[in-house]
Symmetry: C2
Subunit: 216 residues, 2 copies
């Protein structure tokens, strides 16, 4: 049994949950409360000195950094492949993933927004504008790529979910939280709508996690 | 013959040049002048709608996003492997790479620093402090990982260069440009010093590129 150290709202934890679910792998959850900076405590830093979630414990290994975790899962559990068979397809899927995983997500990460607020005295509205800027710039480029792909089915690539969907859906969740107008990205919205009908995506949703706040 | 669309000082172009050189692959250079925003012109956006370098033209494919380019090169040209043989080693190398490629580099990218300066009126000193913060935070975590690896040789992993060295050396170049004090990271400095003695790294250096400014 694997153990995932994560946080309900962390986009990188979310993408890892989706990948585990798509591969049909069962795992235990250990919640690291980022709102209380538990990721910076010694207990967690002994698990990951970078003080970032997620970490996946599997086969006595402590896997860290979600791009590396996803590649490891793909190699260790090739069934329900999350990368296409052809080299060009794999490049495309990894590139779409990196457009989100390098150029959108980390820039709107909790530690960055805290620095903007606390060290640079950026007000709430300007922090939201910051997030909007990087999400819309990234989504515009993604939308162009998705629209140009004539072989695309209901997912980012072809007819089956790939790494790119694992990255995209959490980023759409984050975009909604920052009130980004998604109407300019019909392909992204269609993929998101379809993926959310699938159990692997639905049960990975932040609000479905045990550490999510409960509402009446 | 491959063609690399890049910029001498771009860290992602730099890491791609190192990987190409380590694999002994010859390529033509097309310089996209980021200082003149050539990457945002229609001519380049037709090549990459995201308006970011590098792009590698190979086998009639336009490869984009350096993490995907490196994985493609490793699959297409397995000789001079840049990933270890064992799954745990590959995870580790990819994770070290992502620590730089996701959590350091994109946050200090040109477009981010421009936004800080132009939209948030952050002064020069505070922009340098911003870069220092993310480089030192990332390097501290990297240094801990490198120091804990008892099997490490002269590179980030084992006795041969890997993706992780392709990512690290450009980030050290960037750290020096932002005047980061590197004395707290002896393992990083030792790897950097060793790599720079090797031709594959030396000829990939920003100042060795045809588009670098010439000094008397």
């Amino acid at each position: 049994m694997m153990t995932l150290y994560g946080y309900f709202r962390s986009g990188t934890s979310h993408r890892t949950r989706i990948a585990l679910n798509l591969k049909g792998l069962d795992y235990d959850d250990i919640a690291i409360n980022l709102a209380q900076d538990e990721q910076l405590e010694d207990a967690f830093k002994a698990i990951n000195p970078q003080g970032l979630v997620p970490v996946l414990k599997a086969d006595d290994l402590l896997l860290y950094q979600s791009p590396a975790i996803l590649e490891w899962l793909e190699e260790a559990y090739p069934e329900h492949a999350l990368l296409p068979q052809d080299a060009a397809g794999r490049m495309h899927v990894r590139a779409l993933s990196a457009m989100i995983g390098c150029d959108i997500h980390p820039i709107n990460n909790r530690r960055i927004l805290q620095y903007l607020r606390n060290e640079l005295s950026v007000d709430k509205e300007a922090v939201i504008a910051w997030c909007n800027r990087w999400i819309t710039e990234g989504f515009a480029a993604l939308e162009t790529r998705l629209a140009a792909d004539k072989n695309r089915g209901q997912f980012c690539y072809g007819d089956r979910p790939t790494f790119a969907d694992c990255y995209l859906i959490p980023q759409v969740s984050s975009a909604r939280r920052f009130k980004v107008d998604l109407s300019a990205y019909p392909n992204i919205v269609a993929i998101d709508t379809h993926c959310r009908t699938l159990k692997a995506f639905a049960v990975a949703d932040p609000m479905m996690q045990p550490d999510a706040p409960k509402h009446a």
